[in-house]
Symmetry: C2
Subunit: 213 residues, 2 copies
């Protein structure tokens, strides 16, 4: 198996085995490196020194810095995180928005995810891994909308993918694009607005021709 | 006056004069360079060659690549763009969302603004200029909400700054963070959701204690 295969096929990693432990140690070193130097300053040598894993092993299994960063993202996506389940749509969306605020509104918590977002501008492969990470993460979040439909809080047919993105987007937008302050009030306002739009049926499919209005 | 002053004080530029023409020519070269090489690949030498402005002049007036990029952003902010005025809140917000979609949903139109966003991760000064650009741009957009309040389409006290950001954020988010496709349908869904939330009063200030719910 080539280094490329090993880095991109999580199925080849035996959970709990030596391979998985090495992968986690290397991942930790990559995250520390991203936090301290950003993607442009990250080197295989740095990861080798910090992780204690030999440079030749890193090159063989991950290929290069891109491989190391994308595998760290892949590993982040293998966690057991589930979206909040507070019993109401309003509560779930508020909890989701507050999670984003807790991360991106906190300078030290924001460092690593921001470094991944920055790295994606410089590496197509990292951009692909970031896309996969968020796609899968938001797919988990859709349970929030499905439960709301079952409870009669949201109209059947509500676009769950759009709803969960709309709750996060204004916070990400301020944190990494317009670079404005976040805060719990903003998180609550954002989730409140999306909840109101869901109730009003604004996330139902547009009737034919309606969008031309 | 130092090069730093010249680069950061637009008031010193005589509109239509030789200084203004040089600034525009240099700006064009910076935008071409960002589009072709991105921020990491942009050099003062490249801008000199493409603009025909001597390297020593560039160093004297703009200092370095950071100075060139931030001045290009400052100049972009000096345009006469005004937000759409269609006569309805729904129409104005839809037109705003479609403008974002026209830019970030089009690969070639997206290159330069995306390069500015990417550069802001590598340069504090560019991040500051990007912040100023968007702050001022969204301040112009607030007229859309003010007119809606005057027409009775939005409750008085509606948070105009939040509304105009909520209309753009899901499109920016997909374009530069989750890297998902945009489209006119998505733009219309986004603006429709924000319009519904405005009508429901979701952008009014929270009552004391309400956000703790």
């Amino acid at each position: 198996m080539s280094a490329e295969d090993a880095a991109t096929s999580p199925g080849t990693v035996r959970p709990g085995g030596r391979t998985a432990r090495t992968r986690a140690v290397v991942r930790d070193a990559v995250l520390t490196g991203l936090a301290e130097h950003g993607y442009p300053g990250l080197t295989v040598e740095y990861v080798a020194e910090l992780s204690g894993v030999h440079k030749t092993t890193l090159y063989r299994r991950w290929g290069n810095v891109e491989g190391l960063v994308t595998d760290a993202l892949d590993l982040a996506g293998e966690d057991t995180w589930t979206p909040p389940d507070t019993g109401t749509l309003d509560g779930d969306l508020r909890a989701l928005a507050r999670e984003v605020n807790d991360t991106f509104g906190d300078t030290s918590a924001a460092v690593v995810p921001t470094a991944f977002i920055a790295a994606a501008f410089q590496s197509e492969r990292t951009a692909g891994a970031l896309h996969s990470f968020y796609t899968e993460r938001f797919a988990r979040c859709e349970a929030v909308v499905e439960r709301a439909v079952e409870r009669g809080e949201a109209p059947p047919g509500t676009d769950a993918a759009a709803v969960v993105r709309a709750v996060s987007a204004p916070l990400f937008f301020r944190a990494v694009i317009t670079r404005e302050p976040l805060g719990e009030e903003l998180a609550d306002q954002t989730s409140g607005a999306v909840t109101a739009a869901v109730r009003a049926g604004a996330y139902l499919p547009a009737a034919p021709g309606e969008s031309a209005g």
